[in-house]
């Protein structure tokens, strides 16, 4: 009995030693070795690692020293550097498998941190990945500035004329969805000379009971603050657009509605002119995706149109974000909102939005995908029925205040025609320019009125502006 006991104890000790010897990792350096060499070392120490040369390629090297104490954890750390992982296989072996997309490394090499930047500059990034890169987005102070689809990863961007440092960012995506980013902060030179532009433009949409010849300048009368104004410039349509498509991807849009929205957005982009620019923002109760402004190619939607529908609806918040994104963009600024719902979860109110609308030159178009239903009778923890109805009415008022309109659509299939109608209207709008007198810069509201000496004509335009400092 005693001999049996001693023998059993010896066997246990041997086993424990073997296990401990196999598991514990005396420190050594792996940096610089190929991944295959590193795995061979682990195999020599007792780990049964099985892998294919497809996954563990000769060009893969260890770039970071593993810090774990146990061999199994060392293995995981080595593999993670290349988007791989180990899973338990037959007989307790460890199989190397793909764990998500391979990492993407991005480094901004121009400008450098601390550089002084002003005006137009070149931004350049170096990108490393074991997979092809789909695109690199460049950002300036958080705003999308450019998307580059092929190496060299460079673009010309404009440093904004604002006080404080300027932050440049680059985000690279690989074809399988891997992502890497880098940011650099520079110092800014602010040019003090400013041009005092006081020409105001009023964009007037005209609808008529019956057709008729185009209206002429002399048929229009324009009033600012009740006083008649001289129309200094007059044109019709064909002003370059800065269009932001704001797509609601909340849960209620799941399925046909969201697919129709993206399809209509693609068609809308295809109908824009080469001189126009566009961006797409997808949202629900939070921002889901955002493209930089760029030429209106259908490819602009790439990636964004794979956003799945989920979450609640924060309309006010994202309309505000859209208006902020359009501040300072060239051309005629418009937001086209494709949504089926009412605001439920925004932190900003419709009154907040109205404040911004009055100070923005952008025009809002809301294509509502729930038909002509006016009764938004629902409650939430944030608002009761009356509150929700007030908010919806407030958003409608803000859209109309911007000189735009709300169009109720019975079916998602009506979207393309509706968007085409928006574009036609924009191209056919009259643009009246005038120099307002008596500018005070006191933040007061200046009402505007436009009249036309022609029968059966209805006008829609922004009926005022804020005399900002």
């Amino acid at each position: 009995m005693r001999r049996a006991g001693r023998a059993a104890a010896a066997v246990c000790l041997l086993v424990l030693t073997a296990v401990a010897g196999a598991a514990a990792a005396p420190p050594r350096s792996y940096v610089g070795l190929t991944l295959g060499e590193a795995l061979a070392d682990l195999q020599s120490r007792g780990l049964r690692v099985i892998y294919s040369e497809e996954l563990v390629r000769p060009d893969m090297r260890v770039v970071e020293e593993p810090t774990a104490a146990w061999l199994h954890d060392v293995l995981q750390q080595l593999l993670a550097q290349h988007g791989l992982a180990a899973r338990v296989g037959p007989g307790g072996s460890l199989l190397v498998v793909r764990e998500g997309p391979p990492p993407v490394r991005v480094k901004l090499v121009r400008p450098l941190a601390g550089d002084v930047t002003a005006g137009e500059i070149e931004i350049l990034a170096e990108v490393e990945s074991s997979e092809p890169i789909a695109w690199v987005d460049f950002f300036v102070n958080g705003w999308p500035a450019a998307r580059v689809r092929s190496s060299p990863w460079r673009a010309i961007v404009t440093v904004p004329d604002e006080p404080g440092p300027c932050r440049f960012g680059a985000v690279a995506r690989s074809v399988s969805g891997g992502r890497g980013s880098d940011t650099v902060t520079t110092r800014r030179v602010v040019l003090e000379e400013r041009l005092d532009v006081s020409l105001r433009q009023v964009h007037v949409a005209v609808t008529r009971n019956r057709g008729g010849p185009p209206l002429q300048r002399e048929q229009f009368e324009l009033f600012d603050g009740g006083r008649p104004q001289t129309i200094a410039s007059f044109s019709r349509g064909d002003v370059p657009l800065s269009a932001l498509l704001l797509v609601d991807a909340s849960e209620s849009m799941r399925g046909e509605s969201l697919q129709a929205a993206f399809a209509a957005a693609r068609a809308f982009l295809a109908r824009l002119a080469p001189t126009d620019e566009a961006a797409v923002m997808v949202f629900a109760d939070r921002l889901l995706s955002l493209t930089p402004f760029g030429p209106p190619e259908p490819g602009l939607l790439e990636g964004a149109d794979r956003t799945p529908a989920a979450g609640g609806t924060a309309l006010n918040d994202h309309v505000y974000a859209a208006l902020r994104l359009l501040d300072g963009r060239p051309g005629r600024r418009i937001v086209v909102l494709l949504s089926d719902g009412a605001d439920v979860l925004s932190t900003l109110t419709a009154a907040d939005l109205m404040w911004k609308v009055r100070r923005s030159d952008a025009t809002l178009y809301w294509l509502r995908l729930r038909g002509l239903r006016q009764d938004w009778s629902f409650t939430s923890a944030w608002r009761d029925v009356a509150g929700n109805q007030r908010e919806t009415a407030g958003l409608v008022a803000a859209v109309e205040e911007s000189g735009g309109r709300v169009e109720a659509l019975a079916r998602p299939a009506d979207l393309p025609a509706s968007l085409a109608g928006v574009l036609t209207e924009l191209r056919e709008q009259y643009v009246l320019g005038y120099y307002p007198h008596d500018l005070k810069g006191d933040g007061s509201w200046r009402p505007v009125q436009v009249r036309v000496a022609a029968p059966g004509v209805r006008l829609r335009y922004r009926d005022g502006w804020v005399d900002r400092p």
Binding site: G142, R286, G311, D317, L345, T379
Partner: protein
């Protein structure tokens, strides 16, 4: 002979008057006992399936009412000697309810839900003061489940029944307060959350209390609750508290205070989708525009949650602790059921 024949005739005709044969009632009771024996032995899946199948067969045979009677009869018999057995059966019926919902049997699901609630209340009556707290826990847990499934009327009913037994039941207070708030009954929500120490739901409960105190015009108390939450923590509670407090401060002209509050919260919660927008608008209104980093917000999309969406959902703060406590009590209740069922169990 005549008497014998008459007796047989009465036996044969009795079902026509009673609405069911005698033999199926005993079969139903026996079937239910058998399911309870499985439950008491720890075979959760088997027990739930057994009760479900009993319900399916009874539905096919048009014997739902006799089945409900049979279950109540069995439960009453078992509960007489061991009141805690009632809570164990209530727990089983809660699981059966969930299974029937999943199997799209609404009538059977409702029957289980009603029975679970009744048994919990019977326990509270039989077990006296000691039995009130666990009975209320069972009711509140069932209420929370319904609340999450957006069965709000039924959830409110269960919460109220829980509070009738144990007025301090925290999950019921918190859940009912959220439901009252959703109906615009802000004063009722305040009444459920205030004056109880600790505040039901911890941080989440304090947040709901603060928000609703503001709504009923108790500004100072509301701001005090929100101030305590808005300066610490890295969760959605802090975000909502900061948003609502900042709105109050901005509304009375303290834009600087509001901006500072939002900036601190946004720094602690870099992926919060709401704080940067509110801060940006506030800064713009003050004539000092802030850059708005939409790219970072978009980068956070996969992991970010909307704090306002989280607030609008059924409160969760008390649910997990409640369920953990129920799980801890479960073995004792099953033991009581085992004893009540007798040696065969």
């Amino acid at each position: 002979m005549r008497s014998f024949a008459l007796a047989l005739a009465v036996l044969a005709l009795a079902p026509a008057f009673s609405g069911a044969s005698l033999f199926p009632r005993y079969r139903l009771e026996a079937g239910y006992r058998s399911a309870l024996e499985r439950w008491a032995a720890g075979d959760q899946t088997g027990a739930v399936e057994a009760v479900r199948q009993l319900g399916d067969r009874a539905e096919d045979e048009g014997a739902l009412t006799p089945l409900e009677r049979a279950r109540r009869t069995v439960a009453r018999q078992l509960g007489r000697s061991h009141p805690d057995a009632l809570l164990s059966i209530a727990r089983l019926e809660t699981l059966v309810y969930q299974a029937q919902v999943g199997a799209r049997n609404p009538e059977l699901a409702l029957a289980s839900r009603l029975l679970a609630a009744e048994l919990a209340e019977q326990h509270a009556q039989r077990a006296g003061a000691a039995g009130r707290v666990p009975a209320a826990m069972v009711l509140a847990s069932l209420g929370a489940h319904l609340h999450l499934a957006v069965q709000e009327g039924a959830a409110a009913d269960l919460y109220q029944r829980a509070l009738a037994i144990d007025p301090r039941q925290a999950a019921a207070r918190l859940g009912l307060a959220a439901l009252r708030e959703k109906r615009g009954e802000y004063a009722a929500a305040v009444g459920l959350l205030a004056g109880v120490e600790p505040t039901p739901g911890g941080r989440e409960g304090s947040l709901r209390l603060g928000v609703n105190l503001l709504r009923v015009g108790r500004r100072q108390e509301g701001e005090a609750e929100l101030r305590a939450l808005s300066g610490a923590g890295e969760d959605w509670v802090r975000s909502v508290a900061a948003q609502e407090l900042a709105r109050q401060l901005a509304g009375r002209g303290d834009g600087a205070g509001a901006s500072e509050l939002l900036a601190a919260a946004a720094a602690a919660l870099p992926c919060d989708p709401s704080l940067p927008l509110q801060a940006a608008l506030l800064a713009e209104r003050r004539g000092d525009p802030l850059p708005l980093d939409l790219a970072s917000l978009a980068d956070c999309a996969e992991t970010a949650i909307s704090p306002r969406a989280r607030y609008a959902r059924a409160p969760a703060a008390e649910v997990r602790p409640l369920r953990q406590r129920l799980d801890a009590l479960d073995p004792g209740w099953r033991e009581a059921l085992r004893r009540a069922l007798g040696p065969a169990a």
